[in-house]
């Protein structure tokens, strides 16, 4: 894997934020809807579901799905 500065930076950032007890995508997906409803109702979703929040920061696929979910919810009320 060639390490250009951009990739090295992304890798270092990923390693710096790596935790021993991260949840994986299935667990995030299972509670992503609850996280979204908390967030949109003005409740502290990050504090109430910290592992979901952390996973959304790390996993680009889950983050993209979550952002799409928020867009859908904002459009439909």
């Amino acid at each position: 894997m060639p390490l250009d500065p951009s990739t090295l930076s992304r890798l270092a950032r990923a390693l710096a934020t790596t935790q021993p007890d991260e949840i994986a995508c299935d667990e995030c997906f299972a509670r992503m809807d609850a996280f979204a409803d908390l967030l949109l109702s003005g409740k502290p979703a990050e504090e109430l579901l910290p592992k979901i929040h952390a996973h959304l920061q790390r996993c680009p696929d889950c983050k993209e799905e979550f952002e799409s979910l928020l867009a859908m919810l904002r459009a439909t009320g």
Binding site: P5, L8, M72
Partner: protein, 217 residues
Amino acid sequence: MLRWFRRSAAPTTNDEWLDALRGPDRDQALAALRPILVRGLRAAFRDRVPHQIDAFAEDVAQEALLKILDHLDAFRGEARFTTWAHKIAARLALTKLRRKRWENVSLEDLTTRDDDGAPRPHPSLTDQAPRPDDQATLAHYVEVVQQVMQQTLTETQRTALEAVMQHDMPITEVARRLGVSRNTLYKRLHDARKNLKAALRERGIAPEEILAEVEAR
């Protein structure tokens, strides 16, 4: 008790949705849910599917309705039912879009060639002409990280890491090519990150140092 469709345009509570979708009012409930999903899909994906958004939203909504019916028992009741339904539709939509975007790209292509198909030259840190002291420090980090990756990770882990980190291939698509679930690949990449981090620490290097050095340039 009057059933929901006799007194309102659509179910409103989670229990009403579940009762309707599990009972004789299923078709009415599906007919009420479909336009909600279509409206959400159109809003969320119109930028990504500008010319066929109506057909795309209808297709995804139809697929989502079938999936929702098959997975009603998975609804945990921690969110509004419609939020849960939107979540399923969002994942289906993105799965389609990711598959289409990456359909002609293999992991082998990605890790040996540039996006335009040309053999990829190995990028050099000297390309940005850093100061000599920066260059030496960064070159040291690069050498150590590459060495540690070679020693610590499997070839599959290195390939997956490169596809995700360097080429922005979705984890879902990498996993599909490797014949594993996205959840499994995430766990393997998590193991890879933990092992890399530990191996760097054994050599006295914290990832934060590398990050600071790269970002200072």
